[in-house]
């Protein structure tokens, strides 16, 4: 194992060195260091050219400059990083990188998580309903999303997700026709996803249509959009629903202990709603607090599960912990949205809450919740764009591997011995179907830090991708090289992690081969 790691690390280090050398030389040719001087009519143009050459040390051959750069970069290994300077602004590259990495992580984390969860879920359902209308619909939609150019989606999102939506928010009125169309569409999708016999389909269709219609009607008629919070009633309803849904997916409703655990956790969550509001009011919050509260939630879930004992307390505890986390997130969202009115009234926002550009409103200060709401309104559109374009591959992968797994003999055995459908799907099929994803997801997550180049550029999100594009446009060599080294290293690490994860999860794989 150790030999494998050493060999892999060594060979990839050599590859990375060669890649940086080649790209350095290519970049040195491609970048036009004198671009701004070419149109200049200054009388001292010769001196300016000379000054630029001296500033960038252009009289030294590129290959020597590469090794100078490499010496500085190698200093990172011993703690004295020198990745050069971005010559236009004169800023050290290491300073530029810090802000960029933080911004990128902020942008891609949520989007990646959402697209993995939704993509896997849709792929699973689509595979279970193979060759039905629902399957064809999902397949078509995922192909469509896969073909969408992100820059086109982004421009549309800016127009309809921000400008038009802000107009809509100031006067939320919708005609009857769109409401009915949306309700019927939701009904059809649920009907296709739930499947089953004719009567079940009819029930699913009717139920989903009515619920969607009712929700939209309530949201519009009660003016909920002016104050989009759940309140204790909403939290209560959602918590109990979450408890039932999580139990259903994680253990099945027939496991009464798990069901009681989840319901107890939900009741505890509802009971803690008012005390938490007081806590949030009197104590200034930060992310450390949030993290600790999440830990407490997990602890409560596990403890309740343990309290219900039974032959397998861990299963109940797991169900309780998942329920507790979901309820905690709901309470968090509720608290953030309590700032909605104040946020809209702020002169810098002026009732146009959804932002089209940047990571935060400049010069906007406020408490933890207020700042977070601001960051969410900025995150919304780029996240939607990222989710839309990356969801398709997860759906396709999950569908493919799920279909393959559902044909295996062990699934037939599981069905033949009379296990309920949920157990077969969630425990026997899904876990094995997710195995191939273990080699894709780490790579996706880690390379995401390299930034979503196009999305960041369009939404003016100063992350890694935008740093790269800006430096390209400004003809700055050093930040580009730093970007390449970082993305290259991340890709190497990601592939190593993926290989190991796969080897750990699938005992048939040997790494030393």
């Amino acid at each position: 194992m150790i030999r494998f790691i050493l060999r892999r690390t060594l060979s990839t280090a050599v590859v990375l060195l060669v890649v940086t050398l080649v790209l350095f030389l290519l970049l040195d040719t491609a970048l036009d260091y004198y671009a701004d001087l070419r149109q200049s009519t200054a009388p001292n143009i010769g001196a300016l050219y000379e000054a630029r050459a001296r500033l960038l040390d252009l009289d030294t051959p590129a290959i020597i400059r590469y090794f100078q750069w490499l010496t500085g970069a190698a200093g990172c290994l011993v703690g004295s990083c020198d990745l050069g300077t971005a010559w236009v602004s004169g800023q050290p590259v290491t300073d530029q990188l810090q802000g960029a990495v933080v911004n990128t992580v902020k942008l891609v984390t949520g989007a990646t998580l959402v697209s993995i969860l939704v993509g896997v879920f849709l792929g699973m359902i689509s595979a279970l309903r193979q060759y039905t209308g629902f399957d064809y619909f999902i397949t078509f939609v995922s192909f469509l999303l896969y073909s969408l150019p992100v820059f086109w989606v982004a421009v549309l999102l800016k127009q309809y997700g921000a400008i038009e939506f802000n107009n809509f928010l100031s006067d939320p009125v919708v005609g009857w026709v769109p409401i009915i169309v949306v309700s019927v569409a939701a009904g059809l999708i649920w009907m296709g996803a739930l499947g089953g016999t004719g009567r079940r389909r009819l029930l699913a269709f009717g139920g989903a249509t009515l619920v969607t219609f009712g929700t939209i009607y309530y949201v519009l008629a009660s003016g909920w959009l002016y104050d989009p919070t759940f309140g204790i009633v909403g939290i209560g309803v959602f918590s109990l629903a979450t408890a039932v849904a999580v139990t259903f997916l994680s253990t099945g409703l027939s496991n009464r202990r798990a069901l009681w655990t989840a319901l107890t956790v939900a009741v505890i969550g509802i009971g803690l709603y008012m005390p938490l509001q007081n806590l949030f009011w009197y104590v200034e919050m930060n992310w450390l607090w949030m993290f600790l509260l999440a830990l407490v939630a997990v602890g409560v879930g596990l403890a309740v599960g343990a309290a219900f004992r039974g032959p397998d307390p861990l299963v109940s505890g797991r169900t309780g912990a998942i329920t507790a986390i979901v309820i905690g997130v709901l309470i968090f969202i509720d608290r953030v949205f309590q700032e909605w009115g104040r946020y809209g009234d702020h002169p810098a926002i002026n009732q146009r809450p959804i932002a089209t550009i940047g990571a935060s409103t400049p010069n906007l200060t406020g408490d933890f919740w207020f700042v977070n709401l601001d960051s969410f309104t900025h995150l919304l559109l780029p996240s939607i764009a990222l989710v839309l374009i990356s969801i398709a591959s997860y759906t396709r992968y999950t569908r493919g591997s799920m279909l393959e797994v559902m044909n295996q003999d062990y699934i037939r055995t599981a069905k033949a011995k009379g296990l309920p459908g949920r157990t077969v799907v969630m425990r026997h099929a899904l876990r094995n179907a997710l195995l191939p994803l273990a080699s894709i997801i780490p790579v996706d997550i880690i390379t995401m830090i390299g930034g979503a180049v196009i999305t960041e550029t369009i939404f003016g999100w100063s992350g890694m991708g935008k740093l790269f594009i800006d430096s390209m446009n400004r003809n700055e060599l050093d930040p580009i090289m730093a970007y390449i080294v970082i993305t290259g290293l991340l890709a190497v690490v990601a592939n190593l992690v993926a290989d190991f994860l796969y080897a750990v999860l699938d005992p048939r794989i040997r790494v030393d081969a």
Binding site: A30, P149, V155, Q159, G252, L253, I469
Partner: protein, 392 residues
Amino acid sequence: MSTTHDTPPASPFGSGPDDADAPTAIESKEDAGLSQGAIVRRKFFRHTGAMVSMIVLGLVALLAFTAQGVGPIPGWWIHNHVSSGPVVNPGGAPTWTLANPFSLGEHPFGQDDIGRDNFARVMKGTQISLMVMVIIGATALVIGTTIGALAGYYRGWLDGLLMRITDGFIIVPTIVVGAILGKLIGGPSFSFFGLPLSSYLAPMLGLVLGGILWTGLARLVRGEFMALREREFVDSARVSGAGDFRIMFTHILPNSVGVIIVNTTLLMSQAIVLETALSFLGFGIRPPQISLGQLINEYQSAFSTRPWLFWWAGLFIIIIALCVNFIGDGLRDAFDPRMKAIPSQRKMDRADRRRAAAGGTTVTAATTASAAEPPDGGSAPSDGDDTRKGEL
């Protein structure tokens, strides 16, 4: 994806007595006695999505190339993509109308701020984008197949070296390398036959992007070659005196053609998105030349005032990418020996019913079993389609 293409055509698929369901049994008989190529062709022609996509893509290409002409041959459209004319509608809005009778008018896709015809521009952009896409596909096909074949056939140090080179291309995101190379060939640094390189921008961009997109194909071809070179037909070719290159290109390559075709097609859908993205960022096709991505880049700020400039270019990118994806999917299904042309759920149900009406005893049993499945199972996954899962 280790598809083996010289399996006997009429391959049975787990035909135990219990899963000999009527419709699938018919499917397997249909393929009997056909050659591998004929089966693939038949499966592909039956893939509705792929066939529709072939037709649509063909029509788009035909429209784009005839409307604007190729090289010196003029097209049938009255405007070209550079000349500006008087703005017909206020703001340059599209002139087509449904008012009696339906007519396209002079500028069906509208005009931009200086009166250039948007239809001509979109058609020219489609031409260039299609051309770049095909060049990328061809370049990647040649490089990827050659490198994969050499690495997989010779193994040893050559394999190690070639795969490290492949790794080198993979560890940097394609859009990054694409941007650097795009900037390089668009810059003033190079010239070719006395003309600056930028006048051959589109074919050059295709070559260069093809030079970075071949990696996935090379890895797959290498895997195929590694598996196939151990097979008996390679041994027999070798004992009859065939040389390495003859074995590689006339014996092994035809057996891995499925993997190659499918992945080249899928790579081309990636290629058009990459080209348009680079042109959008300003590192691909640059004015005065146009491509679909460059059009969107040029017009993105005009979206609120002249949305038509934006819609059409984007629509054509999506149509092309979607068609190529569907064709690739159809090819993959056609080449996959495990993949049976399975009729839709509705068709199977209908066949079941017809059979039941005709009085087939075994099938009636199957139908009633699936209908009588208790709907109270809580979760739905095994309802209805349960009886067929085994054969898919």
